[in-house]
Every structure is written in structure tokens, then in C-alpha cells.
């Protein structure tokens, strides 16, 4: 079959053609998928980089059973691809070559002309011209179409191997030229030629098939096969009419790959007409058998049988291993046959034979799963003294058990195993142990397992296998819970039945009894007989502590677990009568610890759970503190856990203290970590209060500072997770304690870090007051230099308190708290005065806002007090502007919201403020203002009004409050004011009365000396008393 593809990059007139990538294509002849795929990848500019459309291209390649010519002419921008079957008829070859000739010699100017030429080409008939190959470089020149067709046809038919082993074949208008790989000699090429032209049809057939097979490999892979192919063809040429078994076996794999059917045919033929041949390799035969096995098992068995014959004949036992390896993945029947053959062949094997046979059986047993095969190999193992391997092989199939029938089979194998001679009991016990467990676990409910146990013990007893009895009994007792529940006690009773009254097994009976005791207790009944037997046993073996301690442990745990207080007490009494060295005592403590844990974990009733607590108190009752403190510390940790479990408050506290005390005595550092874990557990159980109680109890016991620190840290950690775990006071105390610890140890970095953490904790818990106090505490333990950095923080926390009080309704409480904090603030802040001013201003604003909200005048009085307090504490020059601003705000607010706020009271407030801030000049201005108002009102009414008497009080009061006695300028100015005031009064006194006389008198006094102003207020009562007369006189 020959197929032509014309392709062009021309666009004109090609629109209707099939487009592949950027080419228009036209097929002539049948196209296969291989061809389409080839064209697609060849024309793909990414896939086929070697094709350059701007250069002529003429090459021949072999691929997928096809000879392919690719040609491209730049001037035509067109090319062809011709496909021809590699082993085709001469006519096809002729057609293929004619197209190549036409293309290489075309005179067409356009692609469609080329097409016409190719379709209408004349075909040259073939007459072969032989070619001698004398060099690896091959060049065939063409004079005309005839020589081209004839020479190349000849070459294709006879020397196709040369092309197969050439990297690149060029065919252009004048010549065909290529280089044969050096690995292929000229003799090899001649040999290939001979094979292709052999009169032996098998040789010719296989050689052609080799060509075809190679054509499907890419060039790289093809070259890898060169040596094999050369040897194969060389051997093939040795074939005569009856195929040689030796050659077939040697090349079985390749021949099978090249043409399996023909190969099988030849194998069959060679067996049928088998001739002994010394060159036959047994290994080749075995390999061939394996190759043939997939297609013809019968043929494979025959070859294997043949191989076996050779092995026995030559005594080449090593090949048996290969045989076993090969047959191991054939069917079981063949394996059994091989095993039986070997057994009969070697009834009494020598050691050397045993070794080989062991390897053979090992190979056979590697992947075997068929029980019959396994049994056969296991028996074979036994015949060569490999009982261990036999047992392992048979048991291996039960690594996974899927149903009850597997269990039955497993039990049978175990029974078989314990009966075969030649394997040590100890070794056997180890091997069967995991499988015995499996059998226990997968046994069905009902009498099956106890019955089987009975049978097993009968064998063991009969064969006196004490070690196995010991191992199996121990295993049964230990794992009895794997047996169906209803069969557990029955199984143990059967075991006990076999062991009882035999002196060798007294200890084993006790072990069984202890377990039986537990099982019966679990069922709710305590067997007095078993208890009696157990006590009798431990009494008898009292001297052998190591032996009876496990029994005592079991008894303790069982009685605690199931609440048998009476038996527990008897065991405890027995223990007390024992001679206990430290080691034994500690062991017993551990047992009791375990018993207590069981009591707490298994008991359903609370009262019985308390036994779990009682046991710990029992431990403490016979502990010797100095010797046992270390183990007691460990046990107390469990004791606390158990007490938490059943919520025994007193016990939790006692055991916690125990944990601390014993750890201290034993010098165990890790106690505090454990204690903290327990604390956390207690809190998780919702016993928040208890956690704190334990903390305080332990703190009372004065733990070392580092431990105390960790305990406090834990409390703070819990507090960070549980809101309100600690009250504000408690939390403060915790942080203070931490500070105190670090202060004691002079760890200043830790102090500062603690201050930082504590402050943030309080702020994040919305406890700014505590944050503030905490900072004050910190400052008090630090040197002055260290707490400078805390000043801004202190102010921040004070401001946070103000924010915090935003919604607090109790204004008195707010003011008092702020006052206290403010006092502390002023005592501790010395450098950040601008921030302090901010705090002052915000405080006063807060009080003013509260006044506006409540109209409670005390809020403003508080504000005045705050201001006076600041004046006293802070250098006045630093704060005066803020003080004046705040004071003015107070007065403005009062005037705005309080209609009863009198002129007098305003003046008095101003006087107090100005006096405190030493502003005499301002004070005098205020005094003049108010007196002017009094005088003006009096002038209007043209009489001395009562309020003018108040004016005299104001003058006196001013003199007194402003300490004018010590300021001459003040004296001069107040004298002037007083004189003016009295002159105004005199001016208004129209009638002579005692009142006006007194005015005159006072006038004279102040005129004489400013110091007299100090005394004028002591005449106010007289002025008031005499005013009535003045008033009455005016009324007339």
C-alpha cells in the first residue's frame, strides 16, 4: 500500500483543501492513523524543528512499519510525503520510488502543476540491480529513472537493515546517500542479506519480522538492540528444518516479542522432535517455559519438565531455585507437583541439598496463598528439618482473618503446630503468640473456644510441654477479655481444671484465680472459694514477694474496681503484715495508686468511688515520709486528679498540699508545673473557687519564690481566659505579689516587665483603678530613676479611670475616687507637667459635666477643692493658666445654671481662689467691682442699704484672707478702697444716728491706719444692731 500526501504553504487555490497547521494538504491513497499522526507532528512547527520551509528537503525514514519519503521544494513552496509498507510488494515499491523520482525531477512551477505531474507520472518497471556494499558510507547514483527504481528497489528488499541502522537517509535528484552505523559490520550486513534471502522459511520469516519489529522503534531504541539482533540473526541462520531447542530457548524472549505465534509453533515443533543437545542451557529453558506459560501452560509444563530432567541428570541443583522462582507464580498444582517431585527425588537429603531445597521452598512460599499449596510446602519444610519455617508459613495466612472459618482453620494450624516435633517450645510459643491472640479475638460465641482450649491443653499435657502451658496460660489470662464475654470465665475454669493440683503450676493457678476473681466480680458475684484460695496462696508463698506481688496487685485492683471493701481491707491487712523494704513498699504504693484509679474510673456509684480516695489516705497512713517522699509526690498528683474526678473538695486540697510538701522534701522541681496543670483541670471542671482556695493554701505553705511566681502566673493566666475569675482585689494582690517576689530578688527587668503586663491586664479587664494602684505600687518598689517611664502610663491610667466612670451614677463615689487617685497622681508625677495639666483640665471638666447633669452644687465644690489641692502640690507658675481657665469655667457654669448664685458668693469664691493663687492685684480689682455695685445700688435708693454692711465684711475679709498685713502695697490700696467706701456711706447718711456715728468712727479708724481694717469686722454686730434705728428714722 502506497499513499501520497501533497502539502503546500500556498494559499491561492488551496482554500478547499484540508488544512494541517499552516499547510494545505491533499491525500492520494489510503491514509491510516499512523500516517495522519506523522503528518500532523511533522508539519507542526513546534514539534518538527528540523524541517525548514526555506530549504529544500529530501529524506527517507523508517517508522511504524513504513518507509517514508519527505520532500520539499522551496521554489514551489510545496512538498510531498510518501508512505510505503516496509515489506511491500515490488509494485508498491515501484510506485513509491516513481513518485520520489517525479518529485525530485519535477519541472513544475506551481503546486498544482506538481500535483498533475505526480498523478500522471509514468511508472518504470523493475529489473533488479544488485548492489555490493563495500563501505559504511553508501552512495547510490541515479543516471535515469530506470536505474533509480531498480537500484533502490533492490536495496529496499535486500539491504533494509542498512537503512534501519542509519541516522539519516538522503534521496535527491542524483543520488541516495547515507552512513551505516559502525556497530554494524559489513559482515553483519551481509549476514542480514543472507537471512533475508534464506531458503529456510523460518529464517526468512523471522528476519522479515525483525525488520518490521525494528521499524516500530525510534532510532535511539533501535540502535540499542543492534547486538542482540546480530546474535539472534546469526543463531537463526544455524536453524535447520527442525528448530533447535537451544537456539529457541536462548532467544525466547526476543523471538516471542518479534512473532509470538511463530515462536510457539517452533517451540512445539522442537519439543515434538526433540534431539538431545549439549548446548541447551537449563536456565534458558526455565526462562522459556516462563515466557511460554502465559500462552500455553501445557507447553510450559513440558519445557519445565524437560528442564527438571536436565537438573536431576546433571545434579545442577542451583537451577532449582530459578525453577522455584519461576513456578512460584504459576498455579498451585504445578507447585505441589514440583514439591512432591523434589520430596521423592530427595527422600533423605544431604545438608547441601537441604540448603538448596530450603531456598527452593522459600521461593515457592513467597507469594503463595492457596492453603493446599501452603500445607504442601510446610510439610516439605518439615522433611528437611525446617519446622519453624513450616509453622510460620502456615500461620502467615492468618495475618488477616476475615470470617469464622478462618478462625477454625487457624486453631487447627495451632493445634498442628504444637504437635509437630523438632521445634523448641519457647520458640514455638513466641511464634504462635500473636496468632493465638487472633484466635481468641475471632472465636465465635458459644462453646467452641473453651472446647478447643481443652483440646490444646490435652495435647500439651500429654506431650509434657510445660513452657508452652505457661506461655499459653499467661496469654489467655492476660487477654481473656478478647474471648466472647460469656465464655471468658468458662475458658479460665477449663484452664484452671487442667492446672489444679499440680505442684508445678501453683503460681499459674493463682494467676488464673486472680483473673477469675475479677471476671466474677465483674458479673457481680465474689467467689468466696476463689478469695479463700487466693489468700491461702499468698499466705503460702509469703516469702516469695516477687511472685505474690502481681497477685496482690490484681486483688487490690479488682477489689477497688468493683468496690469489695471487705476483701480490699483484708489485702491491706495482709500487706501490713509483710516485711516491706523500700522497693516493695514503693511497688505496693504503685499498686494501690492503680487500684485507686480503677476505683474512680470504674465505679458507677459515688459512695464506692470514694474508696479511690480512701486508698490514697491508706497509702499516706503507712508511708515513711523521708524514704517515700519522691514516690508520694508522684502519687499525690494522681490522687489530686482522682479527687477532682469525683469532686472531693477536702481531698483535692489535702492531696494538693501533699503534692507540694512531698515534692519539697524530695527536691522535685517539676511539682509546680504539675500543680498548675491540675489547677487548670480544676477550673475546666468548673471549680473556679476551689482553684483559688488551693492556690492560697499552697501559698500559705510558703513555696520558694520561683515556684510562687509560677503559681501566680498560672492564676493570672486563668484570669486572662475566664472573665471575673479574680476579683479586682484578688487580681491586684496577684500582681503585687509578683512585684514583691521580683523586688525581693532584685530583678528589676522582671519588675518592669510585670508592671507592663499587669497594667495591660487591668486595662484589658476594664479595671483602670486597679491599673492605677498597681502602677503606684510598682513605683513604690522602684528607684526614682526607673519609674520616670511610668509617669505617662500613670496619667494614662488616671484618664482611663475618668473614661471608665462615664456611666457611673454615684457622683460622690466618682469624686472621692478621683480625688484619691488625683492625690496619688500629684504625689508621683513630677516631670510630665503638660500631661498633668491635661489631667487637671479633664478632671475639672468631668466634674462640671456631672454638675450640669445633676445640678448638685457639690460637684463644683469638689472641682474647687481639686484646684486648691493642685495649687498646694504643684509649682504655681507651671499650672496657673490651666487653673485660671478651669476656675473661670466653674464660675461661668455656676452662674449659668444656678439662679441663686449670689454676687456675694461669686466674690467669695473668687477671693478664695485668688488668695490661694496669691493674686492680690486681681483680688483688689474684684473687690472694687463688687463694692462699686453696692455703692451704686445705695446711691440709687439714696440711703445706706443693708448690703453695704456686707461690703464692710468683704473689705475685712479680703484684708484677712489676702494677708495684707504683710504687704505694704496691699495695705495702701485697701485703705484707699475702705476710705472711699466709708466716705460713700457717710455721704448717704442723712440722719444722725448711732449707726451713722459708728460709720464715722470706723471711717476715722481706717483713715488713720490701714491696719485698722483688720478690726472693722468686729464692729459689724454693733452696726447691724444700730441699723434698725437708722432705718426707722429714714422711714419717718
Amino acid at each position: 500500500m502506497t499513499t501520497l500526501l501533497l502539502f503546500t504553504s500556498m494559499k491561492e487555490g488551496t482554500e478547499h483543501l484540508e488544512q494541517i497547521h499552516s499547510y494545505a494538504t491533499l491525500w492520494k491513497g489510503n491514509k491510516t492513523n499512523d500516517m495522519i499522526q506523522f503528518v500532523d507532528s511533522f508539519l507542526d512547527p513546534i514539534e518538527w524543528e528540523s524541517f525548514d520551509p526555506w530549504e529544500d528537503h529530501h529524506s527517507l525514514i523508517i517508522q511504524n512499519g513504513m518507509t517514508i519519503f519527505i520532500g520539499w521544494k522551496v521554489e514551489l513552496q510545496s512538498g510531498i510525503i510518501i508512505f510505503n509498507s516496509i515489506l511491500s510488494q515490488e509494485t508498491d515499491i515501484s510506485k513509491f520510488l516513481n513518485w520520489i523520482w517525479s518529485f525530485t525531477h519535477t519541472s513544475a512551477k506551481y503546486w498544482d502543476e506538481l500535483l498533475e505531474e505526480l498523478i500522471d507520472q509514468e511508472e518504470e518497471t523493475i529489473s533488479k540491480i544488485p548492489i555490493d556494499i563495500t563501505n559504511h558510507h553508501i552512495q547510490i547514483d541515479f543516471e535515469d529513472r530506470g536505474t533509480f527504481i531498480n537500484k533502490v528497489t533492490q536495496f529496499f528488499q535486500d539491504n533494509i537493515f542498512a537503512i534501519l541502522f542509519s541516522p539519516h537517509v538522503l534521496i535527491d535528484a542524483e543520488k541516495m546517500e547515507f552512513e551505516v552505523l559502525q556497530e554494524v559490520s559489513l559482515n553483519d550486513l551481509e549476514m542480514f542479506y543472507n537471512a533475508l534471502n534464506s531458503s529456510n522459511q523460518h529464517i526468512k520469516h523471522f528476519t522479515e519480522k525483525i525488520v518490521f519489529w525494528l521499524s516500530f522503534k525510534n532510532y535511539e531504541d533501535r540502535t540499542k538492540e543492534i547486538q542482540k539482533i546480530i546474535k539472534l540473526v546469526a543463531d537463526l541462520l544455524l536453524l535447520d528444518s527442525v528448530p533447535s531447542m537451544a537456539i529457541l530457548a536462548k532467544h525466547a524472549e526476543m523471538l516471542s516479542n518479534i512473532d509470538k505465534d511463530h515462536f510457539l509453533l517452533l517451540v512445539q515443533q522442537s519439543i515434538q522432535e526433540f534431539k538431545p543437545d549439549l548446548s541447551i542451557s537449563v536456565e534458558d529453558l526455565i526462562r522459556m517455559a516462563d515466557i511460554v506459560y502465559k500462552d500455553s501452560q501445557e507447553l510450559a509444563f513440558m519445557i519445565a519438565g524437560l528442564a527438571l530432567e536436565f537438573i536431576f541428570k546433571d545434579n545442577s541443583l542451583d537451577s532449582l531455585v530459578l525453577m522455584a522462582k519461576t513456578i512460584s507464580h504459576w498455579n498451585t498444582k504445578q507447585m505441589i507437583a514440583l514439591v512432591e517431585t523434589l520430596a521423592s527425588q530427595y527422600p533423605s537429603p544431604t545438608e547441601e541439598q537441604k540448603e538448596i531445597l530450603t531456598k527452593v521452598y522459600d521461593e515457592l512460599s513467597k507469594d503463595i496463598s492457596d492453603p493446599e499449596g501452603i500445607e504442601s510446602i510446610a510439610n516439605a519444610y518439615c522433611t528437611i528439618g525446617r519446622q519453624k519455617e513450616a509453622v510460620l508459613l502456615r500461620l502467615k495466612q492468618f495475618d488477616k482473618i476475615e470470617d469464622e472459618t478462618d478462625t477454625f482453620a487457624l486453631v487447627e494450624v495451632i493445634k498442628w503446630a504444637i504437635r509437630i516435633p523438632g521445634i523448641e517450645d519457647k520458640e514455638l510459643a513466641e511464634i504462635i503468640a500473636p496468632y493465638f491472640l487472633t484466635a481468641m479475638e475471632t472465636s465465635p460465641a458459644g462453646p467452641y473456644f473453651p472446647d478447643q482450649i481443652g483440646e490444646i491443653y490435652e495435647y500439651l499435657e500429654k506431650d509434657q510441654k510445660k513452657i508452652l502451658i505457661l506461655a499459653i496460660t499467661t496469654q489467655i489470662v492476660k487477654n481473656i477479655d478478647l474471648v466472647p464475654i460469656l465464655e471468658q470465665s468458662r475458658t479460665l475454669e477449663i484452664v484452671k481444671g487442667f492446672l489444679k493440683n499440680k505442684n508445678d503450676f501453683l503460681d499459674l493457678v493463682a494467676i488464673v484465680n486472680a483473673k477469675l476473681h475479677e471476671l466474677l466480680m465483674e458479673e457481680g458475684k465474689e467467689s468466696k472459694e476463689i478469695v479463700k484460695e487466693l489468700f491461702s496462696y499468698i499466705e503460702t508463698r509469703r516469702g516469695s514477694k516477687e511472685i505474690i506481688l502481681p497477685i496482690i496487685e490484681k486483688m487490690l485492683v479488682t477489689t477497688a474496681k468493683f468496690g469489695s471493701v471487705e476483701t480490699y481491707t483484708r489485702v491491706l491487712d495482709f500487706i501490713k503484715t509483710m516485711e516491706l523494704d523500700i522497693k516493695t513498699r514503693h511497688r505496693i504504693f504503685e499498686m494501690m495508686d492503680l487500684a485507686a484509679k480503677n476505683a474512680v474510673s470504674f465505679q458507677l456509684e459515688e459512695t464506692n468511688k470514694e474508696l479511690g480516695i480512701q486508698i490514697y489516705y491508706d497509702i499516706l497512713s503507712f508511708a515513711i515520709i523521708n524514704e517515700d517522699s519522691e514516690i508520694l509526690a508522684q502519687i499525690m498528683e494522681h490522687a489530686v486528679q482522682n479527687a477532682i474526678e469525683i469532686d472531693k473538695r477536702e481531698a483535692i486540697i489535702d492531696f494538693s498540699k501533699g503534692l507540694f510538701t512531698f515534692s519539697q522534701i524530695a527536691g522535685i522541681q517539676s511539682w509546680v508545673g504539675k500543680m498548675n496543670e491540675l489547677m487548670e483541670k480544676i477550673v475546666e471542671n468548673g471549680k473556679v473557687e476551689l482553684s483559688k482556695v488551693i492556690f492560697h493554701e499552697i501559698i500559705e505553705l510558703a513555696p520558694p519564690p520561683n515556684d510562687k511566681e509560677q503559681l501566680i502566673e498560672k492564676q493570672l493566666d486563668i484570669a486572662s481566659k475566664i472573665p471575673d475569675y479574680l476579683s479586682p482585689d484578688e487580681e491586684t494582690a496577684m500582681w503585687q505579689n509578683l512585684l514583691a517576689i521580683f523586688n525581693l530578688q532584685q530583678k528589676y527587668d522582671e519588675i518592669l516587665e510585670t508592671v507592663e503586663r499587669g497594667y495591660h491586664a487591668f486595662i484589658s479587664h476594664n479595671r483602670p483603678i486597679e491599673a492605677f494602684h498597681f502602677l503606684i505600687d510598682a513605683i513604690n518598689v522602684l528607684d526614682r530613676d526607673d519609674f520616670d517611664s511610668l509617669e505617662p502610663k500613670l496619667i494614662d491610667s488616671y484618664l482611663s479611670v475618668i473614661d471608665f466612670f462615664e456611666n457611673e451614677a454615684d457622683s460622690k463615689f466618682v469624686a472621692k475616687t478621683l480625688y484619691n487617685l488625683f492625690t496619688e497622681l500629684l504625689n508621683h508625677v513630677s516631670k510630665h507637667l503638660s500631661r498633668l495639666n491635661e489631667a487637671i483640665e479633664i478632671t475639672i471638666s468631668e466634674l462640671i459635666i456631672r454638675y450640669i447633669k445633676t445640678k448638685d452644687v457639690k460637684q463644683l465644690e469638689y472641682a474647687n477643692i481639686f484646684l486648691t489641692f493642685v495649687i498646694e502640690k504643684i509649682p504655681i507658675e507651671e499650672t496657673l493658666p490651666i487653673l485660671i481657665k478651669s476656675f473661670d469655667q466653674i464660675i461661668r457654669t455656676r452662674k449659668k445654671f444656678d439662679p441663686k448664685y449670689s454676687l456675694f458668693n461669686e466674690f467669695m469664691d473668687r477671693l478664695r481662689f485668688l488668695s490661694a493663687t496669691r493674686q492680690r492685684r486681681e483680688g483688689l480689682k474684684e473687690l472694687r467691682k463688687i463694692l462699686y455695685k453696692f455703692k451704686k445700688a445705695a446711691s440709687k435708693d439714696n440711703k445706706i442699704k443693708q448690703e453695704m454692711i456686707i461690703g464692710i465684711y468683704l473689705i475685712g475679709s479680703f484684708y484677712f484672707q489676702m494677708d495684707c498685713d504683710f504687704d505694704e502695697q496691699c495695705k495702701i490700696e485697701i485703705q484707699e478702697i475702705a476710705v472711699n467706701y466709708f466716705e460713700a456711706m457717710i455721704g448717704l447718711s442723712k440722719k444722725e444716728t448711732g449707726f451713722t456715728e459708728l460709720i464715722h468712727e470706723l471711717y476715722e479708724k481706717v483713715r488713720r491706719s490701714p491696719s485698722e481694717i483688720r478690726t472693722i469686722v468686729f464692729h459689724l454686730d454693733r452696726l447691724i444692731n444700730s441699723y434698725e434705728e437708722y432705718e426707722l428714722l429714714l422711714a419717718r
Binding site: K812, A815, K816, Y819, V857, K858, E861, Y862, N864, I865, T868, F869, I871, E872, K900, S902, F904, N905, M908, R912, S915, A916, A937, K945, Q946, E947, I949, I950, Y953, G956, S957, F960, Q961, V1017, F1018, L1020, D1021, R1022, I1024, N1025, Y1027, E1028
Partner: protein, 118 residues
């Protein structure tokens, strides 16, 4: 704008003169004085217990002593008791002193609230 000014003047002109019943002033004055004296003593006690004098307390107590020394209380009370008319106007010495006492009482109370450990 013009009418608004007129209205404003009207209101200014209409401000009433406050008057207090004489008897009420008399009784309140007695009570206020009594309270004033009692609070002053409390303040004095606190001050005596303090190691360092508080400026605010000193200031108020000085003012209290000054006022008491003037003996205006007896004089004003006597005057109020003798007044023949039932109402006292807002500029009366009795009303003034009562107002003064009230203001001082508020101050002392505020101070006591801040200083006392209650």
C-alpha cells in the same frame, strides 16, 4: 431686629424682687448655723489628725473662724427676729448670712466627703 431689642428691654424691666418669709429665714438661719458649727468641728478634727495640713481645709477653717469672730450671726439673727414685717427682701442681712452659711456648708460637706473615710 428692632422689635427683638424692644422685647429684651421689656423682660429686663420685669425682673421680680425675691422675698423670703421672715420666720423661715430665722429658723433656717438657726439650723444652718448649728450645722455649720458641727461640720466645722468635724473638719477641725480631721485636720488635727492629719500629719500635714491641707490647704483647702485651712482656708475654709480660717474663714469659719473669721466669720464666727465677727459675731455677725447673733446680730443678724437678733435683727431677723425683730423685723416687724413678714417678708424679707433678697438684700436682707438675714438672707445674706443664710446664703453664706449654705455656701460654706456645701464646701465643708464636699471637703469632708473627699477627706473622710466613709
Amino acid at each position: 431686629m428692632r422689635s427683638f431689642r424692644l422685647k429684651l428691654r421689656f423682660w429686663r424691666r420685669g425682673k421680680p424682687i425675691l422675698k423670703e418669709p421672715r420666720k423661715k429665714v430665722e429658723l433656717n438661719l438657726e439650723k444652718a448655723h448649728e450645722k455649720f458649727i458641727s461640720l466645722s468641728k468635724r473638719l477641725e478634727k480631721i485636720m488635727s489628725e492629719e500629719s500635714e495640713a491641707n490647704a483647702c481645709e485651712s482656708q475654709i477653717l480660717s474663714e469659719v473662724s473669721f466669720l464666727e469672730d465677727t459675731q455677725v450671726y447673733e446680730a443678724v439673727l437678733g435683727r431677723v427676729q425683730k423685723v416687724p414685717y413678714p417678708l424679707l427682701n433678697e438684700n436682707d442681712l438675714g438672707v445674706w448670712l443664710l446664703d453664706y452659711y449654705t455656701s460654706l456648708i456645701a464646701k465643708i460637706e464636699a471637703l469632708l466627703e473627699l477627706e473622710e473615710d466613709i
